[in-house]
């Protein structure tokens, strides 16, 4: 794969949560940094998100939940990704996620969780470093 290819990110809102300020701000920041971002819109089921990730051939899935449903939806998405044989996508989580939940989420394959107050630059740096090392 050519090194000039842009990093592709699926920004997704799983579940019923309507808080999309954060994910939209992050999507805009990622686009400004040169990444290609596909935003799913609200109320996506895990299956829809996994399907979109495959269809769009993304390098990264950025999930945002502020309703507390991350404990069910994040692992469910990881499970479906594995079922579909997708294991080279970097999956990130964000929103209102208590610290004590993070170990379990990482256990199931969420690479990193970004909480309130995170700078978009930190997210960009993180993605660039992680997707960069795959030697695209």
């Amino acid at each position: 794969m050519s090194k000039t290819k842009k990093i592709r990110v699926l920004a997704a809102k799983p579940g019923l949560d309507g808080h999309d300020r954060g994910i939209k701000v992050i999507a805009s920041a990622l686009m400004d940094s040169g990444m290609e971002v596909i935003y799913t819109g609200l109320r996506q089921t895990p299956a829809q998100i996994v399907e979109a990730a495959i269809q769009e051939d993304v390098d990264v899935i950025a999930l945002s939940i502020l309703s507390g449903a991350h404990d069910y939806l994040f692992p469910k998405i990881m499970e479906l990704l594995r079922e579909k044989g997708v294991n080279d996508v970097l999956v990130l989580g964000g929103g209102i996620i208590p610290d004590e939940d993070i170990p379990a989420l990482k256990e199931c394959g969420i690479a990193e969780v970004f909480g309130p107050g995170t700078s978009t630059r930190d997210i960009i740096t993180y993605i660039s470093s992680r997707v960069g090392v795959k030697d695209r």
């Binding site: 019923l16 949560d17 939209k24 309703s67 507390g68 404990d71």
Partner: protein, 560 residues
């Protein structure tokens, strides 16, 4: 000496003063080359009587309780009665939330405010596939009248006022509340409270829509008509800027988009054959109290003036009650920080003070832990105490609209009024709020502001204490309030049992009646009430309406 001489003297004095200050500032510059608030309004170094020149006191500011209500909707404001202290609460099951309400009432809270979980807000029963992971999380799960009976058990409905944050299925939850009141033997004209019932800001900012705009507007005007007749003390809608602001808008946009939505509702009601001064007095509003203190206080004043003018001049209202912006305020959730969460107590206090100085009718103060989780009982108590300290200790409630006459506040009030009016003009040109939302204009305006705000924080042009300055290493608190995942199982079990014990033939008849009405033009409320009383579930009722009305699909507003 004539007035002209005094004015010339003042002008001269200010000119000299400015020259001297500029000289000093050349050597020791101010903190910033320019100062702007969140609405991009430039804040001057000094405001003086010169800024109020050309302002006509009676027509722009007026007296409290009189048109244009800039100074407040009641003549005596908090000298008569304090604002209603109303904490938004609800989580897990109806039993659990009922306990929290009783706790809050014991603590001196004066009104209830019900938070529903997302499946309830989007019209799914707890056993629906879309509800997995969400039951009882951000509010209480209500599937049927049975849950509603539990929620208000032991709370006499004639003695409390109840606000319900419910939009797309507002008619159903209102019907359940009515049915509970009837069972308690409370006559409907005694019921006081509010349903949010504001679908337009769901499309633009909050996300819990179900049906497309047209049938949604019909349900809303059906509610107006039904309440006009049966629930004269009920606030039929709470036209909300709160979520528009939380989604990232500026203060000016909050006023403009809220009132533009208000215009759309009034138009729809008039087109449905209702008289403006019949439903007008029952319209209520809901605003955010953000961090820029004077901008916020001025915002409330500007909103009152602008709405009064809209109702009188655009819609020909002659009843002052229709022209009044009566509003609830919540402090800004988006300003709460995960870092050093106790600082949030201070933020909330200042925001609450701005709301009180802006003349709010009721207030929710956020809890310090809300950037982490649902509020703990201790955090809620501090939040409520914050209001009580403002009311009982600071003295700010002892005179009406104490900021009036401040050269700065009056100038800001006028500036916000002018800029919001300009936005409304643009929205009018697009055909109104519904069209502006369907085009994605409102959403784009809001998300651009949100992005600008975030960039300002990251560039450190805007300081957030504890986040981009004055950070410390800290341990995150543990033992957060959590909703047990078993809540869903319990709720599903209860639902199953209820479905077995009810008269299912009666449910079917009621739902068929509702479907017929939905296809026709009759008011839906009496039929929804029949269905609710037959213990049809929220999901079943919404499914009937979905089958007739269809579902809303959001427009994409990201990218080019």
């Amino acid at each position: 000496m004539g007035e002209d001489n005094i004015r010339e003297g003042l002008k001269d004095a200010i000119r000299k003063w400015s020259e001297a200050v500029e000289k000093k500032a050349a050597k020791a510059p101010e903190r910033s080359p320019s100062f702007v608030n969140t609405s991009n309004i430039t804040v001057n170094r000094l405001y003086s009587p010169l800024d109020l020149e050309g302002m006509d006191y009676l027509s722009e500011i007026g007296l409290p309780g009189e048109y244009p209500f800039t100074r407040g909707v009641q003549p005596t404001m908090y000298r008569g009665r304090y604002w209603t202290m109303r904490q938004y609460a609800g989580f897990a099951t109806a039993e659990e939330s009922n306990r929290r309400y009783k706790f809050l009432l014991e603590q001196g809270q004066t009104g209830l405010s019900v938070a529903f979980d997302l499946p309830t807000q989007i019209g799914y029963d707890s056993d629906h596939e879309m509800a997995i992971g969400e039951v009882g999380k951000v509010g209480v799960a209500i599937d049927s009248l049975e849950d509603m009976e539990t929620l208000f058990s032991g709370i006499p409905l004639e003695q409390v006022s109840t606000s319900m944050t419910i939009n797309a299925p507002a008619a159903i939850l209102l019907a359940m509340y009515i049915a509970v009141a009837e069972k308690q033997g409370v006559s409907l004209d005694k019921l006081r409270g509010t349903i949010q019932n504001d679908i337009l800001k769901e499309y633009s900012s909050r996300g819990t829509y179900i049906f497309p705009p047209k049938p949604s507007m019909r349900i809303i005007t059906d509610i107006f008509a039904f309440c006009e007749e049966k629930l004269p003390q009920w606030n039929t809608i709470s036209i909300s800027g709160y979520h528009i602001r939380e989604a990232g808008s500026t203060a000016v946009q909050e006023v403009a988009f809220t009132l533009a939505n208000g215009i759309a509702y009034v138009k729809a009601a008039i087109e449905a054959g209702l008289a403006v001064d019949k439903f007008g007095p029952r319209l209520s509003f809901f605003f955010n109290a953000h961090s820029d203190f004077f901008e916020e206080a001025a915002k409330f004043r500007a909103a009152r003036r602008l709405w009064a003018e809209i109702m009188r001049d655009r819609f020909g209202s002659t009843d002052p009650r229709s022209m009044m912006v009566r509003f609830h305020t919540q402090t800004a959730g988006c300003t709460l920080t995960l870092q050093q969460p106790k600082n949030n107590i201070v933020r909330v206090a200042f925001q609450a003070l701005a709301a009180v100085l802006g003349g709010t009718q009721s207030l929710h103060t956020n809890s310090m832990d809300e950037a982490l989780c649902l509020p703990s009982e201790e955090a809620v108590q501090i939040a409520l105490r914050t209001q009580q300290v403002i009311a009982y200790e600071t003295g700010v409630a002892d005179t009406v609209d104490p900021l009036a006459g401040s050269y700065y506040v009056e100038t800001l009030t006028r500036e916000i009024y002018d800029r919001a009016k300009e936005y409304i003009r643009k929205i009018d040109e697009m055909g109104g709020a519904v069209e502006a939302i369907e085009k994605g204009y409102v959403q784009r305006e809001i998300q651009d502001s949100a992005y600008r705000y975030q960039r300002q924080i990251e560039e450190k042009e805007r300081v957030v204490v504890g986040v981009n300055r004055f950070q410390v290493k800290e341990e995150r608190p543990s033992n957060l309030l959590r909703v047990d995942p078993s809540v869903r199982e319990a709720q599903v079990h209860k639902l199953k049992k209820m479905r077995l014990s009810r008269d299912n033939a009666g449910v079917k008849v009621a739902l068929q009646g509702l479907e017929k009405a939905a296809r026709g033009r009759d008011n839906l409320l009496p039929l929804i009430l029949d269905a609710v009383k037959a213990y049809a579930t929220l999901g079943e009722i919404c499914d009937v309406l979905r089958s007739v009305f269809g579902e809303y699909r959001a427009v994409s507003t990201l990218g080019n």
